[in-house]
Structures are given as C-alpha cells and as structure tokens.
Subunit: 445 residues, 2 copies
C-alpha cells in the first residue's frame, strides 16, 4: 500500500491529538518529505471556544466539530487513526495505542487538558465539565431535562432546585455559559411551559478569586460582571466550593475566616464545572518534568529536554515568555503547532532550524450573552456590542470549513432576531438503540 | 395557576404521542374551549421521512427534530408533558404515566409503531432499527466507527466484514438508506482513508418479497432497483433473513425449496433493520380489538368501539377505506389527527359532528440517493431527477419550522455540489460526561 511504502522510506511524524495544536503541526508538514500520522480518540476536531453554545442549545454539535479526516483529506502525506493512546516508549520510539504500537521518528504531543475537581473526583458525577462534544451534549441533555422535570414536579423545593444552575469557575467558559443559560431561561424557553416560568430560573456563577475573567484586565472582568448581573445572573466572587452532591453545592466565603468560615448551601440539580484544568498525563508517559498543573516543561524549541525528537504543544506544554506563562488558549496552541511542524520540516531537509518559538499575542476575547463581549488586545481593551460583533466575526472565521461558517452565521443571525433556541433534541435514553427496551410510546411517522 | 383553572373549567383532551397525528390533532383544537395536554416520552417531534439522512451523516439530528413545546408555544390552551405513558384506565378515564395519572375527558392515542424482529428480539442488539433520533444517532455512530475500525484492522476478513452493510427490508426506509450509504462510501468518505478504500464497501439490500417498494406500483420498484444497482448496491429480493448475530446474517432464498432451502451467510458488522413494524401496545392498554400488526380497529370516526371519547390515529390505527388498509405514512397520520381534533371541537361545542373520516391520498414518494426519486400520484407515476427535486421541495416544506427549512435546503445544496458529508461527529463513549474515566488523550483548546 502507498501508506506503507511512504512510511518506510520517509521519516515518520506521529502527532497525538487532533485539536488546534496537532492540526496546525500536521498542516505545516504538508510539503515536507515525511509521513504524518495524526492519532485522536475521537474522529473530530472541536472548535472549543463555541462548545458552550452546544451545551446551551444555541448550536448543534455538528456545527462546531469537523471530522479530522475531512480536514486532512487533501494532505496526501498524512493519515488519521482513531484510537486511544496509552503511553510512549521513548527508548523504542513507539507510541502505545489501543490498536497496537505506532513507531515514530518525530513525536508531537498535543493532548490538551482536562478538568480536575480539586482532589474530589466524586464531584464529577454531579457536576459535569465542558471539554468535549460528548460533554456538551450531556450538559444540554441535563439542562433541558431539568426544565421538563420541573414542569412535572409538585414539590416547590424540588422545582426550585431543578431551576437553579450553579456554574463553578469564573473564567471565560463559566462567564459564557452563564450568559447563554440566562438567555435560554429568560427568552429561549419563555412561554413554552404552563406550570413553571423558566424566567424564574436562578443562574449562579461561583468564582473563588476576587473577580471574573482573571486572565483579562480588571476593567473587563468588572464589565462582564455588570452585564451578567443585568441579565439576572448572580455572581459570587471570593466563594469557594467545598462540597458537591446530588443535592447541590456548599459554598464558603473565603473573605470570612473568623469566628468561623461562612458556609452556605445552594440546592441545585444543575452544577456545571468549568474550574481547575490539569494537563493530560503526557509528563508521566515521557518521565518528563512537569509544572504544578502537570504541563510538560519544554525547551525554547518546544522539545522535551533530552528528547530532541519529541515536542509538546498547546495546553499540555508549559512555556514561559518574558517571565509569564503562556495561557491555554487556541492561539497559543496553533502557533506552537505551526512552529513545531516547520521545525521538523527544516530538520528533515537538513536546513538550519528556526529560532526559538515566540508567541505573538493577537488578543483575548470573551462574550457575555447575545450582545456584549470583552476584548484585550494588549494596549487596547474594549467591551460592548461592537466588540461582540467582532468576536462573532472572528469566531465564525476560525470555524473549520466553509459549510460550518455559513451555517453558524445564519443560525446566529436567526437567533438574534427571533430569540429562539431550537437545537434542543432530548431523548430519554442517550444509549444506542440496541440497549433499549421496546417503548410503549413511540413516534409515529 | 392558569393551567389548573383552565383544566377544571374546560373539557380536558389528552393526546399521547407528539408525532404528526398528535400534533395535528392538537393544532385542530387551538380555538376549541378545551384544555389540551400532549404527552410524549421525548421532548421533540421528529420528521421521520428524513431520519435516514441523520443515520448516514447527511443531516444533523437537530435539523429534522423540533421541540414539541416550541411548536405549541403559541397555542395557549395546550401544554406538553415529557413523560412515559404506561397504560390507560378507561373506567376512571385516566392515562397512567411515570409522573402519575393524568385524567382526561377525551383521549387521542397517536403512539405509532415500532420494529419487530419476527419473534427474534435478540437480533436487535446486532441489527439496530431506525425509528427515533436516538436510533439514527446510534446507527451513524456504528457506521462511522466501522470505517475507522477497518482503517486500523489487519485481518482482511475483518476489514471485509466491517465494510459490509446489510439492510433488512426493501421498503422506502431500506431503499433510502441503501442509496445514502452508497453515496457516503463512494463519494462522502472517498480519499479520506489511507489503508482502506471506502468505495470498496458492500451495501446489500435484502427483501423477502419479490421486489422493492411493495407499496408502490411495480414499475417504480423496478426503477428504484435499477438506480440502486447503478450506484453499486447489491439488491437481493426473495431473500429472507433466518439469523442475525455479531458475525453477520444468514439469508435464505425463498424461491428455492428443493432439495433443501438455499442458505448463505453474509459476514457483516453493520446490519440495519427496516422491516416488520408492529403497533405500540395501545390495544392492550384499552383492551380493544387489534389487527394482525397490533393496530387498533377503530370506527369510521376513528373512535374505539364502545369508547366514543377515545380516538386512535396514525400508524397505530387500523383503518380501511374502499377495501384497502390505509398505509403507515405521515399524510394519513396528519389527516387523521386533524379530523379527530375537529371532531372533538364540534362535540364540545354541541355542533353536529363531521362525517366519517376519509383519507385524501396526495401521493407517495421515495428517494434513491442524490438525484433520483419515485412518486406515485395514483393515475400518474413518475421517477427520475425532476421527481427527486419535487421530493426535495415537498420534504423541506413539511419540515417543522422555518429555521430548519432554510438550513436543510442550504445543506443539501451544499452537499449536492461538493459531495461532502461533514455531519459526522463520533465520540468514543456516547454516555454522559459523568460516567467517563479521565481520558489520557483529550482535545486541547
């Protein structure tokens, strides 16, 4: 087969992770005399900045995810394997996968981060996080089911708990989710229920630090908070989660320590976790040094010290620049991926390698609901409706594939004028048809 | 609450099933002095004729399903309950549901059909059927996963079994699925794999009768078969499935009986069931007489004999007209639903009731792939590309909600010109995030 001939005669670059970092590395190798294998446990690359829209019914999962195979279809020196990576044998230069070992000459690890629960993995059951299309679909299912169950419930306390949403973590994802949930409850679902008023839903954003959007300038964090509060979101800063259960959460006010910690309980059936990321276990695979969040400390060329053939890019890499840690955002990942792809190409061609990686910050944005965004372009910071329009354009532009781009734009235009949220399919059992008992009530056709 | 006041002072119409029959009944009651409760086990109404497109990655589930609440949002005398109906207490006039009993003055049962496996429920595990959005998503997942697994497999026999698709049942759903799968394999996925050629996939349509599309005129069944064969689909008529297992299916040629039945095995990891529907257990709920397929025999006004307050509409009703059983198609269901809604309105208003239900047949259509359809309008039958265009327009028109209509049209136009199928998100575990172990390979953002 072509693939095997290529593999034997050309250096083999294995890229683990089909997100921004991995895909941009593969793309930068498109004209290099190498064979590229991209390995991912899913078949798609997800546009993470819009994942919260899937979780709140604004967009369909298919609109923010593209098959990795499609994206690399025309890159004839690349293949895609959908399988799970379990480790790396650095001595034998093999990636260990569920489908068997995959040998490499160069290895690019771009496996990203996952959420941690501050040492409480048992909280995850009650507080799903938002890191994949499957996560977003699960949160959407739970959110819509909560309104349905509230419509049927008799006990007022149960109705209140079903209509209370707690978002843990005041970063961009938490802020964006809070705004989208407020819109869903206040306008998207309004007038559709007869026993409850969805507008009554409480949306509580809990942040352990003193303000929202800690990675943005203070002015923008305050502006986001004011906008959220105007939308009816309760923002609780300086508030730490001390327990999560089926009943709801326990919150502690971190500014009060004497005479005793000030704790309060929030009854909620809908806790969503957007706080505390840690790296996937790449450092353990490599036996490499990691920082406090598990990210691999790499050299200025993003290679692992002692392994010039292994590179780490994106959120899973710990990179300092001008004394500051680079943030875990899409722009960092794609610039790092591009750099590493070019570096490998130069090495293979025997050319001098490019100078050390340097991140060029294009700015940082977050959105609050349908008509407000904040942006930090370094010397310029801005917020408001025009910033939101800019955010919209930039995000639609970055969406992979023209089809998605047109559709997202159309869907948002539509949503903006109608306040409808129709992406709301909810099935009782998400499992496959094969596991289902025959249903007494089915749809006719 | 308003709802309770309404309920107490007005006759209460309970409609079970939010498909075409149930929704059109509710709609016909919009100006009647009644309170309407629609009960469904899902939150959405699905446009069944396009479900096969979801199963083959042509459309997103969100595009062919609309929340029942949205559809009835402006009907202020109607409410929607998402719960499972388990029976009917005709003496007490109560519908039994998982959320408790719901009393009724008038009851409309529109719960549709489900697939039967000819007395072999154990086949369902290996041969999912296509009756709900959840089914379609499961089939899509299995189909895409089969190609992914084939790309990784070493054993040629395993690759062949993974790339063999068997469709059981040569009705409209089987024919449409076969055409869509052929397109997916021949064009949609072409050039995306490096170890297998998706074009090599075998698609086998098995029908126990002598020809496809038995409910259509013979000429159209033959035309559909020719078109499918031109697309590379193997059509096996007069072929009965005698076993389904993880290995594949056993097929018996029904035209050969001596000296012994002619049986052959097809190794396949992808068996899809579109044959043999039976009614949901409405007749058992009511203790009413049923026909051979479990459908309730109703009177000329679609009421259950002995129960003038209970009506059965859609696929679950057995209605004869001019000596012929009305078919299980959307048009029958919606016309029956409209008739029953009007009938109840007249009864409540004390007006003379409309004459017996009479079905007006607007014709019958099925599509084969991207550019061919067959249509039977009684005196006129037609097939070909223009018929396909007509099919497209009619189906897009019937899609509930303008948003969906525009999007489907756009997506199909796009698909037609690019042969892309991008609605292909596949996650390793379809379950909720809460049940998932931390993943070693995650997406970065």
């Amino acid at each position: 087969m072509v693939t095997l001939r290529n593999r034997e005669s050309r250096p083999h670059v294995v890229i683990v992770g089909g997100g921004f970092g991995g895909l941009y590395a593969a793309h930068a190798l498109r004209n290099a005399p190498v064979w590229v294998t991209v390995i991912d446990r899913t078949n798609h690359s997800v546009f993470f900045p819009l994942l919260y829209q899937v979780a709140t019914g604004g967009l369909s999962a298919d609109e923010i995810a593209a098959p990795i195979r499609s994206l690399l279809r025309r890159q004839h020196n690349a293949e895609v394997l959908m399988t799970e990576v379990t480790g790396v044998d650095t001595a034998e230069r093999q990636v260990q996968t569920a489908a068997g070992p995959v040998p490499y000459d160069y290895l690019v690890l771009a496996t990203g981060v996952r959420y941690t629960y501050f040492g409480h993995p048992e909280w995850q059951r009650h507080a799903p996080s938002l890191k994949s299309v499957a996560d977003a679909s699960a949160i959407r299912r739970r959110t819509l089911a909560a309104f349905e169950r509230a419509e049927l419930a008799d006990d007022p306390a149960e109705v209140d708990a079903l209509l209370t949403f707690v978002l843990v973590g005041g970063g961009p994802t938490g802020v964006e989710m809070a705004g989208a949930l407020a819109e869903l409850a206040r306008t998207g679902l309004a007038d559709e229920f007869r026993h409850i008023d969805p507008r009554r839903a409480r949306i509580i954003l809990v942040e352990s630090g003193p303000r929202l959007l800690a990675t943005f300038p203070e002015r923008l964090g305050r502006a986001a908070q004011r906008t959220l509060e105007r939308m009816g979101v309760e923002v609780r800063t300086d508030a730490r989660i001390t327990d999560v259960s089926a009943e709801g959460v326990q919150v502690e006010d971190v500014t009060v320590t004497s005479p005793a910690p000030a704790r309060s309980a929030i009854a909620s059936r809908n806790v969503i976790w957007t706080a505390g990321v840690v790296a996937t276990p790449v450092s353990a695979w490599l036996g490499a040094e990691a920082d406090g969040l598990g990210r691999v400390r790499v050299g200025p060329d993003l290679a692992v010290p002692g392994h010039p053939e292994i590179f780490v890019v994106g959120d899973v890499a710990s990179v300092e620049q001008d004394g500051r840690q680079l943030p875990g955002v899409a722009q960092v990942a794609l610039q790092e991926g591009t750099y590493v792809g070019k570096l490998i190409r130069h090495k293979v061609l025997g050319r001098p390698v490019p100078a050390a990686f340097r991140y060029r910050d294009p700015g940082n944005m977050a959105t609050v609901g349908r008509a407000f965004a904040v942006a930090d372009f370094g010397r310029v910071t801005t917020s408001g409706f025009l910033t939101w329009l800019l955010w919209l354009l930039i995000h639609v532009y970055y969406l992979s594939g023209l089809r998605n781009r047109l559709q997202v734009l159309m869907q948002w235009t539509w949503a903006y004028f109608t306040y409808e949220r129709n992406v709301r399919v909810l099935s009782p059992e998400p499992g496959g048809a094969g596991q289902r008992a025959p249903a007494p009530v089915a749809h006719e056709h």
